[in-house]
Each structure stands twice: as C-alpha cells, then as structure tokens.
C-alpha cells in the first residue's frame, strides 16, 4: 500500500512532510489503543512509544519492563522493553517495544519489530511524497 507523507508544521510557517502511519498498540488478550500516528524511522533500532501509550494498554508503570538504554540526538535515554502487539492496517505484529518517559512524537516504528516485517520504499519525489509498504513473510 502507498501512504502519502503527512504534513507537519515547521518553523516560520514552513511545511514538513513525514512518513507517518496510523497504528494501534495492544497487549495479547488485553486492551488496545485507539489509532495514533507513529513515525516510520529507519534510523531507529526498534519501535518506541511514550509512557502514555503504555498506560493506555494497562502498563501502568513502564519501569516494570526490561531496562535498557537508547542513544539519540538528545543523548542517552533509559527505556523499558515490553511485549506488545502493533497493528498496522490488517497486520498484527507481536514485538518487543521500548517505552520511555520522554518522546516528542507518539511513536517510532524502527528496524526491529517493524522494518523486518515489511519491504519499505520511501519516495519523497512523488506528488504527494509517500512511502510504499509491502508485508514480507519469512519463515
């Protein structure tokens, strides 16, 4: 499926375009979030969500997960890993996702847990710019 990049305000009334997907996150046999936007981020090692998303699916204290760290432009950050299900279109992905106290977006879809399940083509030259995603099933 082809998904157009989404518009996002930039500084000084400029426009930014981002590869954002509409996803839901849940736990097996547990509650599921509403649709929310997550950034498709090939630079992210794995999928990451803010603690608000954790609380919505019944993880009231993210620090009960397996502690790890991630490095980004903002420096090092503690994260906690939990098993979740990410719903992308008709696809349900059982993954290990990182949760953090501070994330400036509502979700990141990274290489482990997301890119390993899809063939993804970023096409910023299109009108509108967009990304093509195709599910890959590997044994």
């Amino acid at each position: 499926m082809r998904v157009p990049y989404r518009t996002y305000p930039g500084p000084n009334n400029t426009v930014q375009y981002y590869p954002l997907l509409r996803v839901r996150v849940g736990r097996k046999y547990g509650p599921t979030t509403r649709f929310f936007e997550a950034l498709v981020d090939s630079g992210a090692s794995d999928c990451m969500f803010p603690e608000d998303v954790a609380q919505a699916i019944g993880i009231n204290d993210i620090t009960t997960g397996r502690k790890s760290m991630r490095a980004g432009i903002g420096g090092k950050e503690d994260v906690w890993i939990h098993s979740v299900v990410v719903y992308v279109g008709e696809h349900a992905l059982d993954i290990e996702a990182a949760f953090t106290h501070t994330l400036p977006v509502s979700g990141l879809l990274g290489r482990q847990g997301f890119f390993e399940h899809f063939r993804i083509t970023f096409d910023p030259t299109g009108d509108p710019p967009g990304l093509e995603i195709e599910r890959v099933h590997k044994a």
């Binding site: 305000p9 649709f35 509108p128």
Partner: protein, 66 residues
C-alpha cells in the same frame, strides 16, 4: 498540496504544543485536545468517536531529528 493536507497543517498549527490531540478521520480538524493520551481518549469516548487519530504535539514545531 491537497486541500486535506493543507487543512491538516492548519489544524496542527492551531493545536496546543506539548499536548495530545485527536484529528478527525480525514485529518482536517481537531476533535479533542488533552495534556495526556488518556484525556484525549476519554473525550473521544464521550463523543462516541472510534475513527479519529491521536498524535502528540512537540514542544516546538521544529524539524525532527530523533
């Protein structure tokens, strides 16, 4: 830019920063705002709205580098 993309842009420009907002299913208008995801979800529950999409706004509209 499509009219829908332009409307989304204007809706987000008007949204409070460092907040959670819900955009209508066609992403052209804001239907709920809150300090937390839970506040926005609760408002959507009250509206009987199952299709809006939620996102977190940053504390400044700057290009993202995560």
């Amino acid at each position: 830019m499509t009219p829908e993309a332009a409307a989304r842009l204007e809706a987000l420009r008007a949204a409070p920063l460092d907040s959670w907002v819900a955009l209508s299913e066609d992403e052209t208008r804001i239907v709920a705002v809150g300090r937390t995801y839970a506040e926005v979800a609760s408002e959507l529950d009250r509206l009987g709205d199952q299709q809006s999409v939620i996102l977190k706004t940053p504390d400044a509209w700057l290009p993202l580098a995560l």
